[in-house]
């Protein structure tokens, strides 16, 4: 187990390095940062010297080595666009994204699990079918459109929620949270709802399928024969058995929630990492893009590692090595 974990850790490190390298090689294709950094009437000489100073003319491997060298010391450079150390920017934006992603996940769970259970128990009822169609409809429209429609309804027509932003934030140590202020909580509702739709559908489907499977097992038939109430069977026994795969999938999905947040954050102008990333892409702000990718890579790899270790515990068959 320990050897496995260490090996996976080393592999994870290699993955992150690979992400960084690929990102680096490809960044030269996303555009020219220089044009956004100089005034429109900057002379050609100024532009060329700026390219040189940024090291954009150096061989790509040299640029990469320099980047890794600095990154190892926690220095991700300075954003071309915002003139701030990237580390500060990320520290500033990271809490916003995590809070949004967690809130979305909570909404998805709070709505998805009951819906999944209900649609499994009442498999053929009208309500179940409508619920299933409804959850699927939520992922059949692009996020940006749903976001704009929600803004229109709740902010413009009803005037009950803000159209954008994160509201007031309070600092707890380095972590700036919007969860402790009224305006922060109000601002969270719409983006979290928008972001939760995809996970909600996923969780509903997953819980439903797992429940359907479990409900057919002998174990449940036996419980029923013992005369336990339906309620105790459904929630006490069946649901509990579906939770391992649900937790696994949620773990694996958390990374993709963070990635999905790119669109939600740009619609709601939520000051998180996704918004920062998409702005960086538009301006070809290489240091920000690189740091973001490494962070997201790190997140993915950590979660993957945890899930793999979890699997190993659950299913010993997978412990066998190569043939």
């Amino acid at each position: 187990m320990l050897a496995f974990a260490i090996r996976r850790l080393l592999e994870a490190l290699a993955v992150i390095l690979a992400v960084a390298l690929i990102a680096f090689v490809l960044f030269r294709f996303v555009g020219d940062p220089v044009n956004q950094m100089v005034s429109q009437d900057a002379s050609l000489e100024d532009r060329l010297s700026l390219r040189r100073e940024l090291g954009l003319d150096d061989p790509i491997l040299l640029q990469f080595a320099r980047f890794v060298g600095h990154a190892a010391r926690g220095d991700f450079g300075v954003s071309y666009q915002m003139k701030q150390p990237v580390v500060n920017l990320i520290a500033e934006r990271f809490p916003a994204t995590i809070e949004l992603a967690l809130a979305a996940l909570l909404i998805a769970l709070a709505a998805g699990i009951p819906m999944g259970v209900y649609t499994a128990i009442h498999r053929d009822s009208w309500v179940s079918k409508s619920l299933l169609v409804l959850t699927v409809a939520g992922v059949s429209l692009p996020t940006f459109l749903i976001g704009i429609l929600l803004i229109y309804l709740f902010a413009v027509v009803l005037h009950i929620l803000p159209a954008f932003g994160r509201g007031e934030v309070v600092s707890i140590g380095f972590w700036k949270t919007g969860l402790l202020t009224t305006s922060g909580l109000r601002a969270l509702v719409l983006p979290a709802m928008t972001l939760s739709l995809f996970q909600m559908t996923l969780i509903t489907r997953l819980v439903r399928t797992e429940m359907l499977e479990v409900l057919r097992t002998d174990y449940i038939r036996f419980a029923r024969a013992r005369g336990l109430t339906e309620r105790a069977i459904n929630y006490g026994h069946a649901l509990r058995n579906t939770l391992v795969p649900v937790v696994t999938v949620i773990g694996l999905q958390f990374g993709s929630v963070v990635a999905f947040a790119i669109v939600t954050e740009s619609v709601f102008q939520w000051p998180g990492m996704g918004l920062m990333f998409i702005q960086a892409v538009q301006a070809a702000d290489i240091p920000v893009m690189a740091a973001y990718l490494i962070l997201v890579g790190f997140l993915f790899v950590t979660i993957n590692l945890a899930v793999d270790l979890l699997y190993l515990r659950i299913d010993p068959r997978l412990r066998a090595g190569a043939p």
Binding site: A18, V19, V133, A137, L141, F144, Y152, V301
Partner: protein, 328 residues
Amino acid sequence: MIARASRSAQRTASGLLAGIGRMFRAWWAQMRNTDLVRSFFDSRLAVAAALAVLAMALAAMLAPAIAPQNPYDLASLSLAEASLPPAWIHAGDARYLLGTDDQGRDILSALLYGTRSSLVIGVSAVLLSAAIGVTLGLWAGYAGGRAGALIMRIADVQLTFPAILTALIIDGAALAIFKSYRMEGNRFAVLIIAIGLAGWVQYARTVRGAALVERSKDYVAAARLIGIGPLRIMFHHILPNTLGPVLVLATINLALAIVTEATLSFLGVGLPPSQPSLGTMIQIGNQYLFSGAWWMVAFPGLALATLALAVNLLGDWLRDALNPKLKP
């Protein structure tokens, strides 16, 4: 050395082809399975969804024949007739049943052609990711060891690059590499590759998991004993047993791919507006949401939602129908 490599490449290719053939045969065998067919007709929702998908696919295929206007033909656009409402509204024009967009393009025609583009992108992207994912997943699961671990680590790397980013990068790379890029339909290729690449990991994971389980079964050991090659075992024996989940994934990912195409156009890497897809139409209409020109977003939005919903429902039904644990 080179000859051997090419021979082995040939063997791999023929193995792959045989595998795909086998895949179809297995699929057809399952299709003929009366249970499946019966359960299909028992589910009114599935029938309705299938009919909707079929109707839209047909309309899209026939677009050049039935559309009143060719939206690709710039000469047929008249800017003076831009932003007209649907024909039944007072200011509407009978020639444009569903109104026109901001460039004077007939929405109905654009919708027909756009559905075609969206379907082509969606189906191709799904085929691409399934092909990559199934192959790599089988290999990782069957061969295991270093190669298997390597593949799964590559999968981790891939997961780090969301479709959006992959699209941005491929788009940029294509621009840098091909001089004539965007002269023709290359944007299609970029979208297909981007969405396809971003999606293969799920297939690989699913197939690998199944292959790991299958590998330890007796029939595989027996096949190996009588000297059947690994490729044959992978594609002939293991693959058919993983097809159910792959088919379900593919259906649901088709819906996802179509929606992703729309999202990418919101982020500025979709098809150019002169080549309408449902995504670009929604993106353009989205800008007119507040201005009262609701028809620019409502019709493509409705079409996209219907298509994605129907495909999703088919996928859901398929998942239940193919799940052996749910057999009565």
